[in-house]
């Protein structure tokens, strides 16, 4: 027993990821934490998307189940689990059964290398970003096989669109990522890295986020990735594989109940995964804003108070809305529920002020906050942009993003090596 406690304790003193330290106990804990956090995030996104979209369209959104519809996702989940699981006649039953699991596996496996902090990742791989891109590209196999196995026209068209779209946008995405990897090699040893933690540390060492590096090159790369990642996750305005007005529901038309909810889960966790790639590569991962301009212990303290303040703010919003609830006896339960939720959020906020917790949580908070900004962008896109036509989609992918990405890659290499290039050129001209 003592040895076991020592085993647990030994990791806390090290400054490695659980995978790097080879500590199986903490690796399991981290996997469970990431899995649980991701599920909560997907549930929250479900509610937020409906709510935010509704407010953008001057509607109220879900209001009936729980105060302000807060329990709506849980009601949805129960409904989905109780629904009949239908397999269409003449469908390829085995492939139909396997397809959702491929999508979910691919969407969740990538989180093995997502760096929530310098030590807060399940493991750090030498090929981190390559692993993320590769495994997330496997999800298209699930989508394609789902569409084919349904033995129906709409899903098949959706699957064909999805495969064409994802293969096209992967190219532009890869080029944008490579330009960042070139930027990581601008150090004394001039060796870059593919490791997710290494990329953030490179930004820390160079003193700027890669979105601002070689202005405007970093910004252009970020925009290419930001467009391609929406197409990769089949979201509006690139949601052609499931275009409701044309294909009913696209590749998952024939899916129902639990299997359909797996597709839903995979779609949202894939969105979080690609957003965290963007955050890691361009927005400095877990680094707090303005580490140079606002440096020093005072500012460190101020920025480390942010997580607790955010939760207290959320609690205050809850209390405000609880106070605004109609004073009718029928609304009493909802009012108490909302106030109770506010109390829980406030308590979490207070816990986050404890110095020991604060130090460990700050990294995770900044990472999550940046990812949350991307999740809001996703909803914003959906509320704002009309859907692309398929030929327009292909045109943007191949004729705009791909040449821009190639030019960006070459320019980044040239700018990054400008002093060496200059020396070489002088050698050629003046022998």
């Amino acid at each position: 027993m003592h040895g076991f406690l020592q085993y647990i304790q030994s990791y806390l003193d090290s400054d490695k990821t659980p995978g790097g330290a080879g500590n199986i106990f903490w690796a399991t804990v981290y996997i469970l934490l990431v899995f649980g956090g991701l599920s909560v995030a997907v549930i929250a996104m479900n509610w937020l998307e409906r709510k935010i979209l509704a407010h953008m369209q001057v509607r109220l959104g879900p209001m009936r189940v729980g105060p302000h519809g807060l329990l709506q996702p849980i009601a949805d989940a129960i409904k989905l689990l109780l629904k009949e699981d239908i397999i269409p006649a003449e469908a390829d039953a085995v492939v139909f059964w396997v397809a959702p699991f491929i999508v979910v596996l691919a969407a969740f496996t990538v989180f093995v290398v997502v760096p929530f902090g310098p030590t807060h990742a399940i493991t750090d791989m030498n090929i981190g970003i390559l692993f993320m891109l590769g495994v997330s590209s496997l999800s298209v196999l699930g989508i394609v096989t789902a569409g084919w196995a349904s033995n129906s026209h709409y899903p098949l068209i959706g699957a064909l669109r999805s495969s064409a779209q994802m293969v096209s946008y992967e190219v532009a995405m890869g080029l944008a990522v490579v330009s960042v990897i070139l930027m990581t090699s601008l150090n004394d040893q001039s060796t870059g890295t593919l490791s997710m933690i290494g990329i953030v540390q490179a930004q820390q060492a160079q003193g700027e986020w890669f979105i601002f590096k070689f202005f405007p090159l970093g910004l252009v790369g970020f925009f290419i990735f930001a467009i391609a990642m929406v197409a990769e996750t089949n979201r509006a305005p690139f949601d052609l594989p499931e275009a409701e007005s044309e294909l009913t529901a696209g590749f998952h038309t024939e899916y129902s109940g639990f299997r359909w909810s797996l597709f839903f889960l995979a779609e949202y966790s894939a969105m979080i995964a690609v957003s965290s790639i963007a955050v890691t590569l361009w927005l400095g991962g877990w680094l707090r804003p303005f580490p140079n301009a606002l440096s020093g212990p005072t500012w460190d303290l101020v920025f480390s108070l942010f997580p607790g303040v955010t939760f207290l703010l959320l609690a205050a919003i809850c209390f405000y809305n609880a106070a605004r609830m109609p004073k009718h006896p029928l609304f009493r339960v909802q009012t108490i529920g909302l106030a109770g939720f506010g109390v829980v959020l406030g308590l979490i906020g207070l816990i986050l002020f404890i110095p020991a917790v604060r130090v460990r949580v700050t990294d995770i908070f900044w990472f999550a906050a940046k990812v949350a900004a991307f999740m809001y962008l996703y909803i914003w896109y959906r509320g704002t942009f009309p859907r692309y036509r398929f030929d327009q989609l292909m045109k943007v992918g191949w004729k705009v993003l791909l040449p821009t990405g190639l030019a960006l890659l070459i320019l980044t290499a040239v700018v990054g090596m400008r002093t060496e290039l200059w020396v070489e050129l002088q050698g050629v001209w003046r022998p």
């Binding site: 396997v98 390559l130 891109l133 590209s137 496997l138 298209v140 394609v144 096989t145 064909l160 060796t191």
Partner: protein
């Protein structure tokens, strides 16, 4: 010191997955099932690369083969009618030649593995290992380094070959360029 990840158990597991997948690829009549078996085989192969402490090659294997090429395979397979393809007569019934060729290849492998020249086997017991954390950088140095790079020329030739193939595909597919 951590126990090594690359235990024989994983090797046999991955190798068995590859062999079963490979057999399924050629025995399934349904082309989509064949393609899925092929994907399994390729992923298991990526696992084998990982066991050889070559994570970069494993990552590229997943991105290119499982994520890229197989998607295009499936794309094409879905455009053909599976029902008709299943009824069509198989024209690859060349069991005898196939077995002879496979046997010859297997024999060659065994012969190469067991041959000794000047008392040495071709495959030494130890193998060159880079630290896992430096694998990608080591490959880059082998390919591009000004002093230690040995494979720059071969790499460029391969790139040129692929470029020719791309241009050829465009020229053949598009009537009016």
């Amino acid at each position: 010191m951590n126990p090594p990840v690359a235990t024989p158990f994983f090797f046999y597991l991955l190798a068995a997955t590859m062999i079963i997948g490979g057999v399924l690829v050629i025995t399934r009549k349904n082309a989509v099932h064949s393609a899925m078996a092929l994907i399994t085989t390729l992923l298991a192969q990526a696992g084998l690369y990982l066991m050889l402490y070559a994570p970069f090659v494993a990552g590229v294997q997943i991105i290119l083969y499982a994520g890229g090429i197989m998607v295009l395979f499936l794309f094409v397979i879905m455009l053909i009618s599976i029902e008709r393809a299943e009824k069509e007569r198989q024209f690859n019934k060349q069991w005898l030649i196939g077995i002879v060729a496979a046997g010859a290849l297997g024999g060659l492998f065994i012969a190469v593995y067991t041959t000794t020249t000047k008392g040495k086997v071709l495959f030494p017991e130890g193998r060159m290992t880079y630290g896992e954390t430096q694998n990608t950088q080591a490959i880059a140095a082998l390919l591009f380094d000004r002093n230690a790079g040995q494979y720059m020329f071969a790499f460029e030739i391969a790139s040129l070959l692929l470029l020719v193939a791309i241009i050829g595909a465009v020229v053949m597919a598009k009537k009016r360029i």
